[in-house]
Symmetry: C2
Subunit: 239 residues, 2 copies
């Protein structure tokens, strides 16, 4: 099951046999979470990090007036709070957007990796850096793109990330978020979220029914989104 982490890392660089053995030798605990349950709570100081093996999760913050902003979406294979290994205190919560399976890995185990396996350490470091790159892309989308383009961009990104983990069927993928949850991702109201989705639908660019998204015209959607996948670093090269 932890092979999903190896699969994920192998999208960015060659992972040696020794490194694979080391990953497989890490002590882990398996757990399941119900929908809407917190995998990690804000202000907590977890002693382990959580690898998502099945389901969708989100990092989020609540504002004093009760609104929510989702700052990151996570798909299977993602280390949802690897950053807590060094941050120590969680500055946000992580919630299950669908039923989730996870593996928890103690920080002491990760500390051992940093002492014994510099290259593997760099690959884990890289994953947190890619999280940052995705954050930057979201900032650009929120600040300078139309809502239509922002949504298009997000769907392109999700398709590529899920494809890298073998979770797409051609241009379709399972996507459990409600429109209200999507509104918390894009930072807009539920009503306008609905209208933005319909805007892409009416042009025949996407279909979105039954928690399944299908991109009907990839080239056009990519152009609307101004989507360039460089920031996902989905190339195998020495790191």
């Amino acid at each position: 099951m932890i092979d999903i982490l190896i699969q994920n890392l192998a999208n960015h660089d060659i992972v040696s046999e020794d490194e694979r053995s080391l990953v497989r030798s890490l002590a882990t605990r398996e757990r399941s979470y119900e929908i809407d349950e917190d995998l990690v709570s804000e202000n907590s100081r977890p002693s382990y990090s959580t690898l998502l093996t099945a389901g969708f999760a989100a990092r989020y913050k609540l504002t004093p007036d009760g609104t929510r902003q989702i700052t990151a979406l996570h798909v299977p294979g993602d280390f949802v709070d690897l950053h807590a290994f060094l941050l120590k205190t969680m500055d946000h919560g992580i919630i299950a957007l669908s039923p989730c399976r996870v593996m928890q890995i103690d920080h002491t185990e990760l500390e051992t990796v940093t002492r014994k396996a510099p290259h593997l350490t760099r690959l884990l470091w890289l994953k947190t850096i890619i999280d940052g790159a995705i954050h930057r892309e979201w900032i650009v989308a929120m600040g300078r793109r139309s809502k239509r383009a922002h949504l298009a961009h997000l769907l392109c990104e999700l398709h590529m990330r899920l494809q890298a983990m073998g979770l797409t069927q051609d241009l379709s993928f399972h996507f459990p978020l409600s429109q209200g949850e999507m509104a918390d991702v894009l930072g807009l109201s539920l009503v306008h979220m609905n209208r933005t989705i319909q805007n892409l639908r009416k042009d025949g660019l996407i279909s979105w029914v039954n928690h399944t998204v299908t991109i009907l015209d990839w080239d056009e959607l990519r152009d609307i989104a101004d989507f360039d996948p460089t920031y996902l670093s989905l190339t195998v090269e020495p790191r």
Copy 2:
């Protein structure tokens, strides 16, 4: 001069004498940049990372319609493109917002650090993770805060980051950005940026003249911003 990096890391954990020596032994090149010059260009593959020792710099992306979004602001002591060490290809540019002094450190030197000094490596890793935490806070501000609160939040953040590097005088700090550049940070138009600044001014919360920002009422500004500095990880603890 590289002691500015040690000073920065020491804000988060104890840096041992051995680690200080190792940092001081790194081979570096010094350089200066004029205002508006790129420290690093988008799509380049730098073989070194850049430590900012004096001046202000910004990470930015351009959109096809010619607008710009600034995704991060950097102050002296920041490693502006440490992430390029593992990302390899820059997914954005970095520009000097004032005359800048930098030190360039080859990636091969950083690679040596990851092999020889696991704890120092974790501290560098932490700096990239804090960058990510700041990104998330900006996403929340863009998505769910009023522009007034967003600006208040940014000023609180800048004051704390500059204070940690000893670059504030009480509640004042030098800040070279024009209102047009600030608009590219907050993701709004120049005209509305101006009105938002005046909004905070008229309530006697800030003064902003001559490239100097003064926070006139910290408590009130913090409340408006809903500012909680946890995400900056400015606590000294084992990492």
